[in-house]
């Protein structure tokens, strides 16, 4: 996993609530055995629709940040959703809120979930819509998202998730450091 500290990059707006993981990557693309190569399937059934921000063959002009609505990533637990987003080039998702399993899966793949209030997301979206070349700066250590004009918004993130993302911590290694206590639990 690539550690996440700060990111300055273009953002693309996906103006929808409750975007489910069946849209992020439809189930017919879940038959592989690898985590890579899924970018072509990202939003496969939406990318063919006129006006969709991630058009087939395009690369959202190198956008690394997706800005979207409430409850992003609801539905299936498929980790293929963050794998596809990361494979496409996204490093952070700014949303009004996230579904639980998606948020966990994203964090484990170096994809930063940034939850911000609706009014703040709307302000960010207005800036991007006014100028698609807008560069957002996301600073994880200081937990801030900054617009080019210097307007900054703080965001909350669980301290352990932040630690894992910034350090690239191996969660399994951390769990296995409790091997003796796991054995003790099993003997109870």
């Amino acid at each position: 996993m690539t550690p996440f500290t700060t990111l300055t990059g273009r953002a693309v707006v996906l103006a929808a609530d409750d975007v489910d993981t069946d849209q992020i990557i439809p189930a017919r693309f879940l038959k592989g055995t690898a985590k890579t190569g899924l970018a072509t399937h990202l939003f496969a059934d939406w990318r063919t629709q006129p006006g969709f921000p991630l058009l087939t063959g395009g690369d959202a002009n190198g956008a690394q940040i997706l800005v979207t609505g409430v409850n992003f990533g609801c539905g299936s637990s498929r980790e293929h959703a963050p794998w596809a987003l990361v494979d496409y080039g996204f490093r952070a998702i700014v949303a009004r809120s996230f579904a639980d399993i998606f948020k966990e899966n994203a964090t484990k793949n170096g994809l930063l979930p940034v939850a911000l209030p609706g009014a703040v997301c709307s302000q960010i979206e207005r800036a991007i819509n006014a100028n698609p070349a807008t560069q957002l700066r996301i600073d994880l250590p200081s937990q801030r998202v900054t617009l080019p004009d210097g307007t900054a918004f703080g965001f909350e993130i669980d301290a352990f998730s932040k630690h894992c993302l910034t350090s690239g911590l191996d969660e399994l290694g951390y769990i296995l450091s409790f091997a003796d206590r796991i054995t003790t639990h099993e003997r109870r």
Partner: protein
């Protein structure tokens, strides 16, 4: 301190918890299927780690398998199935492959085999793992990275979720079922309304449900965004489990039941939230939109974007465009193309019986395709022993082999673009049952009614005619 059912199970499984860090939570049972496990096994291989507890791991093939005698849908699915078989062989994990007499949908066979038991922590790389909470277990879906963690350590890192009590008062009326209870709840909470929470279902309408109905309710907890759903075990639970292959036997059984009887929320235990729903007011429910929260009583009209909170207007309009439904009109009487009776939500024996009770002596409406897909080989055997398969076949429905089938449309069972399906499954997301397909979620009774009329139908008009 007074504790909830959730608290009791959580507390009993915390192996370690450092300040400011999530708990290391022990997992009693890890269920595995072909779709979300290959990358996890590969990760183990890269680290040179064994599976810590193959005896606490059970695998099945369900998502991408054919439900007829035909071949696997494509090479990718075939490779994935072979990969699961090879991984299970390598790590000495019990696998219910297509040859196994116990094979079926992972959330159907766990309870059937008695590997699902009260008080357990149960995980699977599948969001509908919440199903197993019907037995008073803490059961939830995880991603593939976490599947790898559990394979290697039998543990997970977990932040303690909040608790939500959903209490169903009263008694369900004729024609309304467990599916209608949970669809009504999701319509009230919204598709993200229970995010961050574990739901405990309580109240007389829950107590009155059989285990199959309780599994249907817990199964769809995730559709309100909940981490898990659970129901305290009682005599109904113990009667279901008694004598199953993997439950304690003899004197050990009585001891286990005595322990399980403690698995209930203490009187006066505090939940973070409580929602009370009057079950007696619940009609048969149906969804009209593109997430499971977009549900209405079957006699109601599709809402209009003009009549809803502005925050939901665009989403509703988009959903109705996809569904091709005019706002403000009733759903009753709308023609449909496909009926799917199956999935981890509604493919158990009582679901088969419910559907057969409506279809017995009738023919499937002209032009309608009806798939009946039992949840497991055991369900299939029992249904056939009761002659239910013949009811379906005589009606003109397809009686299939067990699997996830048209719920997720990975195996070739799919609806066509633009078609309408009434489905007993759990998700009506765009394209979920086939690219461009449009899904109405409903109960087995309502699905069976649509099968014989070819239209969205209030099953109560077919039940003895009294209503």
């Amino acid at each position: 301190m007074k504790r909830t059912l959730f608290d009791k199970i959580w507390d009993a499984h915390v192996v370690a918890e450092e300040p400011g860090r999530p708990a290391v939570l022990y997992v009693d049972l890890h269920l595995v299927h072909e779709v979300t496990s290959p990358q996890a096994f590969a990760g183990l291989g890269q680290r040179g780690l064994p599976v810590r507890r193959p005896d606490r791991t059970v695998a099945t093939m369900d998502h991408s398998i054919p439900t007829t005698a035909l071949v696997v849908v494509d090479d990718a699915a075939r490779t994935q199935l072979r990969t699961l078989a090879a991984n299970c062989a390598k790590h000495s994990i019990t696998l219910h492959d297509l040859k196994s007499e116990q094979q079926g949908i992972v959330h159907v066979i766990g309870p059937e085999l008695g590997v699902t038991q009260p008080g357990m922590t149960i995980v699977c790389g599948d969001s509908h793992t919440s199903t197993h909470g019907a037995f008073g277990a803490l059961a939830f879906g995880i991603g593939t990275s976490e599947v790898e963690h559990v394979l290697a350590s039998q543990c997970l890192l977990q932040r303690k979720p909040k608790t939500l009590e959903v209490r169903f008062e009263g008694t369900l009326s004729a024609g309304a079922s467990a599916k209608d209870l949970v669809l009504a709840m999701i319509a009230e909470l919204g598709v993200g309304g229970a995010t961050g929470h574990v739901i405990e279902y309580t109240g007389p309408a829950i107590r009155a449900l059989d285990m199959e109905g309780r599994m249907t309710v817990c199964n769809m907890s995730i559709e309100a965004g909940a981490r898990a759903g659970m129901i305290a075990p009682d005599e109904t639970t113990f009667a279901y489990l008694a004598g199953r292959p993997h439950v304690p036997q003899g004197a050990e059984w009585a001891k286990a039941v005595a322990t399980w009887c403690e698995l209930r929320s203490d009187d006066g235990a505090q939940f973070d939230r409580t929602l009370v729903i009057d079950a007696s007011q619940i009609e048969p429910m149906i969804t009209f939109g593109t997430n499971p929260g977009m549900g209405i009583p079957i006699s109601a009209r599709v809402p209009s974007p003009d009549d809803v909170d502005p925050a939901h207007r665009a989403g509703l309009a988009k959903a109705l465009r996809y569904m091709g439904l005019p706002p403000g009109e009733p759903l009753l009487g709308r023609p449909i193309d496909v009926v799917f009776i199956g999935s981890c939500t509604n493919a158990r024996l009582t679901d088969m019986r419910a559907a057969a009770s409506v279809m017995r002596g009738h023919k499937v409406a002209a032009g309608v395709r009806v798939l009946v897909v039992p949840g497991s080989k055991a369900v299939k055997r029992q249904a056939e022993a009761e002659g239910l398969d013949q009811v379906f076949r005589d009606a003109g429905a397809e009686w299939r082999d067990p699997g996830c089938s048209m719920c997720i449309a990975m195996n070739g069972d799919a609806i066509e673009p633009g078609q309408y399906a009434v489905s007993t499954s759990n998700r009506n997301f765009e394209g979920r049952q086939g690219r461009g397909g449009r899904t109405f979620l409903a109960s087995p009774l309502t699905a069976a009614a649509a099968a014989i009329t070819g239209r969205i139908t209030d099953v109560r008009t077919l039940l003895g005619g009294a209503q």
